[in-house]
């Protein structure tokens, strides 16, 4: 069996599970986002009166943090009442940040757990060896009612990462490259595991970016075998108890791929699809109106540090809005302590409170017709950040920062080559 199958088997109380089998798994962490008051409605429509396991439920106000319309405020209010009535103590209000980052910051993402959030990017938690998957509101209503949920055991594909990432080239460039090669529907209904010598050297932050983006290949979940980097991270968060699962040597994958990062140049996903990936240089010179650094994909301390390296001593282009949105309060505090926020704001960045912000086109940096945005986020669908006539380019945090300075898409690599003047 694969480690993912062992995690599912443990949660379902089965000795063994096989691909295609339907299993009912006990959910270790059930996260609800503020977008989906429907979760509460569905729970009530199912006849729910008392939440089955309130201590395993966590509610996040992240997509509307803070509320920007009366309806959003009303939805938040309903959630606060629901949590208080149901004894759900883990309510992350508007000052906390994006669900996936908050779960990582609090040491709640960890090996062997079944983590289900009403957010499609819950695949992120594969970075810690968890089974993380996104569900809709009514599936979450089932979890609130019963504490468990049914899953089909997925086929699993493995992506081996080799070589070295060059200066100014990041895990985000690599995963965009991979999605460009494999396609936006390559992993539909499947799980994606990352392995290989390069993967073993990547930080938790980079691993989270990889696993997060597997959603854009259609993946149900993702997985990275926990190692010393994972264990060090968990130790720092004060987490000592967890169960790590290992894949049996005779496990047969549904597909195996090799990607070598040596020589890879920065990438962009051009409008309007995440698999519409090209070398960034193909779009060099494209004028931008907005640069958006943030989200559960590219709003961590390392991402902000990389932007600060680019912006240090420079100014944001006068015709560009440069939005910086730390993924969580902890990220913001750490980036402040390191002086990065000071650097970025002095350079002309607009600092937005931790949360999803403009990513899904509800507030805090929406685009109008024909505007162009480059972002470290994960989606460039038509209308994703507002008007369907706006154009979104997905890139690494470094490329976002470099474009913010230049006012156009530009290769960020020169900022990262030591000893080479710009």
């Amino acid at each position: 069996m694969h480690a993912i199958e062992k995690i599912m088997a443990r949660a379902a109380g089965e000795k063994e599970v096989t691909t295609g089998q339907i299993v009912n798994c006990r959910i270790d962490i059930a996260g609800i986002n503020d977008l989906y008051l429907q979760t509460v409605r569905s729970f009530e429509e199912m006849g729910g009166i008392k939440v089955a396991a309130p201590d395993r439920v966590i509610v996040f106000f992240d997509h509307y943090a803070p509320a920007s319309t009366i309806i959003q405020a009303e939805n938040h209010k309903h959630f606060r009442t629901f949590c208080s009535q149901q004894g759900i103590e883990q309510l992350c209000d508007v000052n906390c940040g994006v669900c996936h980052q908050v779960l990582a910051d609090r040491g709640m993402s960890g090996p062997g757990k079944i983590m289900v959030v009403t957010d499609s990017h819950t695949t992120t938690h594969g970075a810690f060896g968890a089974f993380g998957t996104g569900v809709g509101a009514t599936d979450m209503g089932v979890i609130l009612s019963t504490g468990s949920l049914w899953f089909r055991v997925p086929e699993i594909i493995r992506i081996n990462l080799e070589g070295e990432l060059g200066p100014g080239v990041s895990a985000k460039d690599l995963i965009l490259h991979i999605i460009g090669k494999l396609g936006a529907d390559h992993a539909v209904y499947k799980a994606v595991e990352f392995c290989g010598p390069l993967l073993k050297r990547l930080s938790i932050s980079e691993r989270m970016a990889l696993c997060n983006m597997t959603t854009e290949m259609g993946a149900k979940t993702s997985y990275i075998q926990p190692d010393d980097i994972t264990f060090d991270f968990l130790r720092e968060k004060g987490v000592e108890k967890f169960e790590t699962f290992f894949t049996d040597p005779d496990f047969s994958y549904a597909g195996e791929y090799n990607f070598n990062a040596t020589g890879l140049t920065p990438r962009v996903a051009a409008p309007h699809s995440v698999d519409n990936v090209f070398p960034l240089e193909d779009y060099a010179g494209t004028r931008i109106d907005q640069a958006y650094l943030g989200t559960c994909t590219g709003g961590r301390v390392e991402d902000i540090a990389s932007a600060a390296k680019v912006l240090g001593g420079r100014k944001v282009h006068p015709e560009v809005r440069f939005l910086v949105v730390p993924a969580s309060k902890d990220v913001l505090l750490e980036a402040m302590a390191m002086g990065h926020i000071q650097t970025l704001v002095q350079a002309g960045a607009t600092l937005v409170s931790p949360g999803c912000a403009a990513c899904l086109g509800t507030h805090q940096g929406m685009l109008t017709d024909s505007e162009v945005c480059i972002t470290s986020a994960n989606r460039n669908f038509p209308g994703r950040m507002g008007d369907t006539g706006a154009k979104i380019f997905l890139s690494s945090p470094a490329s976002v920062a470099a474009a913010a300075v230049a006012g156009e898409i530009v290769d960020p690599s020169p900022y990262f080559v030591t000893g080479r003047p710009l």
Binding site: L37, E45, M46, N75, G136, V142, F381, T388
Partner: protein
């Protein structure tokens, strides 16, 4: 559960994401009749004017990819979609649709054979799709197992409610 539908086809291409099916800025809406007003707005602003209850959506691969927003399934159910046939579905959308009792059928190659406006007869138990306009027959993967059980109950809310009643 009704297993046989006759309706007009509304066709879409590949990777129709949930932002196109239901734009993010309307996710704050919670009443079904409000949600119904924005169906497919990001893909085709004329959709709600032309689509009639009982019509059928036909799409290429990865229909409903992207966000987990159940609004995408709610809006298509609310406008009266009889069923959705696609070459593949985004997995969260697929689950959401089944949970709401909205039939979804996987039919490889379907987008090559059906044109907008074709009249279709669809049997979700056998997977047989008859294009009454062209006379062509297509075979979708029939729904089976737990998803069929959920659909047959009219959605998962009914199933959970029934289980709850049996326990007490």
């Amino acid at each position: 559960m009704e297993t046989q539908f006759i309706g007009r086809a509304f066709t879409f291409g590949k990777n129709i994401d949930t932002d196109q099916i239901y734009p993010g800025r309307f996710v704050e809406l919670t009443r079904e009749k409000d949600i119904a007003r924005h169906a497919m707005e990001g893909a085709d602003p004329e959709f709600v004017k032309q689509f009639k209850a009982g019509d059928i959506i036909v799409a290429s691969t990865n229909f409903g990819c992207g966000s987990s927003r159940e609004h995408a399934a709610i809006t298509l159910k609310a406008v009266g979609t009889a069923c959705i046939i696609a070459e593949s579905f985004g997995r969260i959308f697929y689950r959401n649709a089944v949970n709401l009792g909205l039939p979804v059928l996987v039919c490889p190659g379907v987008s090559q054979h059906i044109d907008k406006g074709d009249e279709l007869s669809v049997n979700i138990e056998t997977g047989l799709i008859k294009d009454l306009t062209t006379g062509k027959d297509l075979h979708a993967q029939p729904l089976t197992g737990y998803p069929l059980k959920i659909l047959s109950a009219g959605g998962i809310k009914t199933l959970i409610r029934e289980k709850r009643t049996q326990r007490h």
